[in-house]
Amino acid sequence: MSNAALKEWPLWEVFVRSKQGLEHKHCGSLHASDSEHALQMARDVYTRRQEGVSIWVVPSANISASEPNDKPEFFDPASDKVYRHPTFYVIPDEVGHM
């Protein structure tokens, strides 16, 4: 057996859109040998086979995350610029959730 075969399976991040859901939400991670395997595992572990759900799996190594240390320059500049969001409009009740 080659050394490659003895290595641990890579980590995958799982995103699921539920039947009524509008977008995929990150719901966890798992180890799998390849993407097809990761999909099957995600179906067993995270969806319990509800019909109509959509699953995305992404190798964890392919995700670039923002650094907690970058918070000041990344996010703080937005906090005093309220005009970037339409927060001064009143949304009528019949519009519902936006």
């Binding site: 080659s2 075969a5 399976w9 798992l30 180890h31 099957q40 595992m41 067993d44 086979r49």
Partner: protein, 260 residues
């Protein structure tokens, strides 16, 4: 129109015994995610068995329940395919507790689910409405079982030299047991005659195609069929089923009046 009780029991026993075998993997899977998949597989099969036993118990009457059918019948009463009761380790003596061989389990699940996708598909048209409904539900589950086990057959066959050798050994060991699928038993003949069952022999070509394509993709050789035709579905079993039942039924038999 109702299916013959023995025919329902045959379908139920297949699912229960294979479900029991898959459950033996709980906590022993090669990796956590696969452990969950095997338990899932087992739960699907036990669920199918329960629906079929409930239907059979209702037809049988006389106080029969799904539990009496599962826990208070003996080896000759069980009508599962011999394939379903074999241990996970090929070429072991009856009492030896061999390690679980994942290749053996996957090859067995593959051979069985390749058949059941065809069987449940056809049984959706059964004149027994209850059986047709059970078939529709089971078909969805068994399609997933086939996908899962077929993927592993290919992964192992087209994997390392060692995994290839193990899954080839499993296929060599198990494939001869599938000959039982095509031999008609009295209860299958009765079910076919009253429109509640199906003609098993007519499925053989489709099954061969599923199996041969998968074996080819997995770079595995199909062994010769051999002359032995098992008789599990007629109640004449291998030496292994007694041990499965002894373990599965022990609590119910020790406390026959208990409710749980």
């Amino acid at each position: 129109m109702n299916a013959p009780i023995d025919y329902l029991l045959h379908l139920a026993d297949n699912a229960l015994i294979l479900g029991q075998r898959n459950a033996e993997w709980c906590g022993h899977g090669p990796i956590l995610e696969e452990d969950i998949a095997l338990s899932n597989n087992s739960l699907d099969l036990v669920g199918q068995a329960r629906m079929l036993y409930q239907h059979a118990a209702e037809l049988q009457g006389g106080g029969a329940t799904e539990d009496t059918l599962a826990y208070f019948r003996d080896v000759p009463d069980f009508k599962n395919y011999t394939l379903c009761e074999l241990p996970h380790m090929p070429l072991m003596s009856a009492t030896a507790q061999g390690d679980r061989d994942f290749a053996m389990t996957m090859a067995r699940n593959f051979l069985y689910s390749s058949l059941m996708v065809l069987v449940w598909d056809q049984l959706q048209n059964s004149k027994d409405a209850q059986l047709a409904a059970i078939a529709a539900k089971s078909l969805k589950e068994v399609r997933y079982h086939l996908r899962h086990s077929r993927d592993w057959l290919v992964r192992l066959g087209d994997g390392t030299d060692e995994s290839h050798a193990k899954v080839q050994a499993a296929v060599d060991q198990l494939l001869p047991y599938t000959q039982e699928f095509w031999a008609n038993s009295p209860h299958e003949a009765a079910a076919l005659a009253n429109g509640t069952g199906i003609d098993m022999a007519a499925l053989q070509n489709d099954w061969n195609q599923i199996v041969n394509e998968a074996l080819q993709e997995a770079t595995l050789q199909r062994p010769a069929d051999g002359g032995f035709v098992p008789t599990g579905k007629q109640g004449i079993h291998s030496e292994h089923l007694g041990f499965v039942l002894a373990e599965m039924q022990s609590l119910a038999r020790a406390h026959p009046q208990a409710t749980w």
